[in-house]
């Protein structure tokens, strides 16, 4: 789960990482009296908001009001701004980059730092980036901080502020179950203070049961994907014509791939999961029907999910939603004969192999 900048900064602050002082508003009426120059930052979960005009500066009340009314309710790259972070303007002497993330290849945390901050880290020459895999058992230790300040060429008071900040950032990464804890830019101010001027924190969705304070709706998800998520389905909307219901993430993906290779583009990804309930099948049909596909393919390899349960779910859904568009079914595995019999009695033929079902549904949807 991606957190908004202000949430990331709240976390940083609670771990003792210095951030610029500021506050969050949702309405122009929430504005506090100005005590110096400020920056007004749109809280959206997409990159490049500065370039898209999502960040404004103000040095008097009139400018501030104008900036706030100008930003609230506008769209930045398609996403509506409903929250603003009003922060003291800081005097930037130098911008750095630091992050801790999961390295999937090593299956360990990765710490990165660079003196080229304030730009996308992907655009920085790898030679200018310090990287180190952290042993999860020893965790972060001050020698890593010493390596980093040496790499960045920092000394004295600034170096000790950096080292203190890095050890706190590792605590954030570990204790808040982060996939990513990134500060870009990490600012050294003209007054010699080190501050997290931005915060990008991604929390492992599987850990939310122990971090219930955050609840962020993924802006990249469509309304139908959010509805599916609420009902417990893995569901992704796509732009093809064929609705897909399958069981298991791998088999569902393989079904989409096979359709695509047959020029029958899928309308969605829907994984029934490893459950065995008629209602789950019926509700899956309800979701897929809302995506309005031309035809629906059900591809089941029965194991924990029994073929006869799925067959009963298909016939129940067909009756409940009065489905007239073509439904093509493939049943294989546990209780496939029973499942096929149930469908036959309801006028649906079920294939036992995947490829003939793929071909049949592509044809039914008017494709190749």
């Amino acid at each position: 789960m991606n957190l908004y900048e202000y949430m990331g900064k709240e976390i940083f602050s609670s771990f003792g990482i210095p951030v610029p002082s500021g506050y969050v508003i949702h309405d122009v009426a929430d504005l506090k009296p100005l005590s110096g120059s400020v920056v007004v930052k749109s809280q959206v979960l997409i990159g490049g908001r500065g370039k898209s005009g999502g960040i404004k500066f103000a040095s008097d009340e009139a400018q501030l009001k104008e900036a706030v009314t100008g930003l609230l309710g506008t769209k930045i790259r398609g996403y509506t701004v409903s929250t603003l972070l009003i922060e003291e303007k800081i005097n930037i002497a130098k911008e750095y980059y630091v992050s801790i993330s999961l390295n999937r290849t090593e299956r360990k945390p990765l710490i990165m730092a660079s003196a080229s901050g304030g730009v996308e880290i992907e655009s920085v020459d790898p030679k200018e980036i310090y990287t180190r895999i952290i042993d999860p058992l020893t965790g972060y230790s001050d020698y890593i901080g010493r390596e980093i300040v040496s790499f960045l060429g920092l000394q004295g008071e600034v170096a000790s502020q950096f080292r203190s900040l890095l050890s706190k950032l590792y605590k954030v990464f570990k204790e808040e179950d982060c996939e990513l804890a990134e500060i870009n830019p990490l600012v050294l101010t003209a007054e010699g203070k080190v501050l997290a001027a931005d915060a990008k924190v991604v929390i492992d969705s599987d850990s939310l049961y122990r971090h219930q304070k955050y609840n962020v709706t993924d802006p990249e998800k469509t309304p139908l994907e959010l509805e599916a998520q609420g009902k417990g389905y893995s569901f992704v909307e796509m732009d093809g014509l064929i609705g897909v219901i399958a069981n298991g993430a791998g088999l569902t993906m393989a079904t989409l791939d096979a359709l695509t290779l047959h020029k029958g583009n899928p309308r969605n990804f829907l994984d029934l999961g490893g459950t065995d309930s008629i209602d789950i099948v019926v509700n899956a049909f309800e979701l897929v029907l809302k995506a309005n596909p031309k035809a629906i393919l059900v591809n089941i390899f029965g194991g924990v999910t029994k073929c006869d349960t799925v067959a009963s779910g298909i016939t129940a859904a067909k009756a409940k939603f009065n489905i007239s568009r073509p439904i093509v079914v493939r049943l294989s595995g546990v209780r496939e004969e029973e499942g096929r019999e149930i469908l036959k009695n309801n006028g649906i033929q079920a294939y036992s192999e995947m490829m003939p079902a793929i071909e049949a549904v592509v044809k039914a949807a008017g494709g190749a």
């Binding site: 290849t105 298991g248 791998g250 791939d257």
Partner: protein, 284 residues
């Protein structure tokens, strides 16, 4: 011989009185697995499918378990794994989905420290065809033979193993690595085992988008694997940035695409099937 498990492997199930534990311990017994005990706090002294239930793993030690299947809810997995590690059980398989990856990192670290094999989380387990099944793979799909299969998926593994069996190709060992971003075994780990396994002559790898596990395996195959390897990669049609069901199945910043994995395998001389059902004709 198979790898990791065989006819003699003695298995316990942690969380045996839960829905999954109850059902799959029964299926494992039917397969012929020696399920010697189960655990469930407070339910000690009862039985599930005729299997004795104990309160703790420590109480099962007189039964000399070689492996454990952990089927408890995600928040309790780390504790269950530590309990198994403390009891010196050499193989830990975690069935549970949605385990926080920070917990898995910790479990994996301690498994390595103690020389314990970790399978999963969020995978179907391991099966030595006709001899021993630990996990949730359907019983009827297997046939004994010389093909080893390793996969990041569950149902897709069944699809491919089923297709192998229907076409007369039996299996030695089938391993589901798990669909999470952090899991116990990599493709390289299992390639090492399969290369050294006398019962295995050919190898099938079933990969998916996300991470660089497949690319690394391809590099390893070039210099370390003499046996024939074929592969299938799923997720060619996945839109970037979307998680396709598995927590680990996501293309991020152009990394972990199906194209990159297919290219890497082809460079290593590994044929990649277009469809799962094409695996039998490639493995011939």
């Amino acid at each position: 011989m198979s790898v990791l498990v065989d006819k003699e492997t003695r298995v316990i199930v942690q969380g045996i009185t839960g829905h999954q534990g109850k059902f799959h311990s029964g299926e494992m017994l039917k397969f012929g697995t020696k399920v010697v005990a189960g655990t469930s706090p407070g339910k000690g002294g009862t039985e599930v499918n005729g299997i004795p239930v104990f309160n703790t793993v420590r109480e099962t030690r007189h039964l000399n378990p070689d492996a454990t299947m952990i089927a408890v809810a995600a928040p309790f997995v780390k504790d269950a794994a530590f309990e198994a590690l403390d009891a010196e059980i050499p193989l830990i398989y975690i069935l549970t989905e949605h385990v926080p990856f920070h917990d898995t990192m910790e479990i994996l670290y301690h498994c390595r420290r103690k020389g314990v094999t970790l399978i999963g989380p969020n995978g179907p387990g391991v099966t030595a065809a006709m001899d021993c099944k630990i996990g949730i793979m359907p019983n009827h799909i297997f046939k004994k033979g010389d093909i080893a299969v390793a996969s990041r998926s569950g149902t897709l593994t069944y699809e491919i193993v089923g297709a192998l069996t229907r076409n007369g190709f039996g299996q030695s060992t089938v391993i589901g690595l798990g669909g999470d971003p952090v899991v116990g075994l990599t493709f390289i780990d299992v390639l090492k085992m399969f290369e050294n396994d006398e019962a295995t002559n050919k190898i099938v790898l079933v990969g998916e988008i996300g991470g660089t596990n497949e690319e690394r395996a391809a590099e390893y195959i070039k210099s370390h694997v003499s046996k024939k390897v074929v592969a299938y990669i799923t997720g060619r049609s996945a839109p970037p940035g979307k998680r396709m069901g598995h927590a680990g199945a996501i293309v991020e910043k152009g990394m972990g695409t199906a194209e990159s994995k297919i290219k890497a395998f082809n460079h290593a001389g590994v044929e990649v099937a277009e469809y799962p059902v094409d695996i039998p004709s490639l493995i011939k």
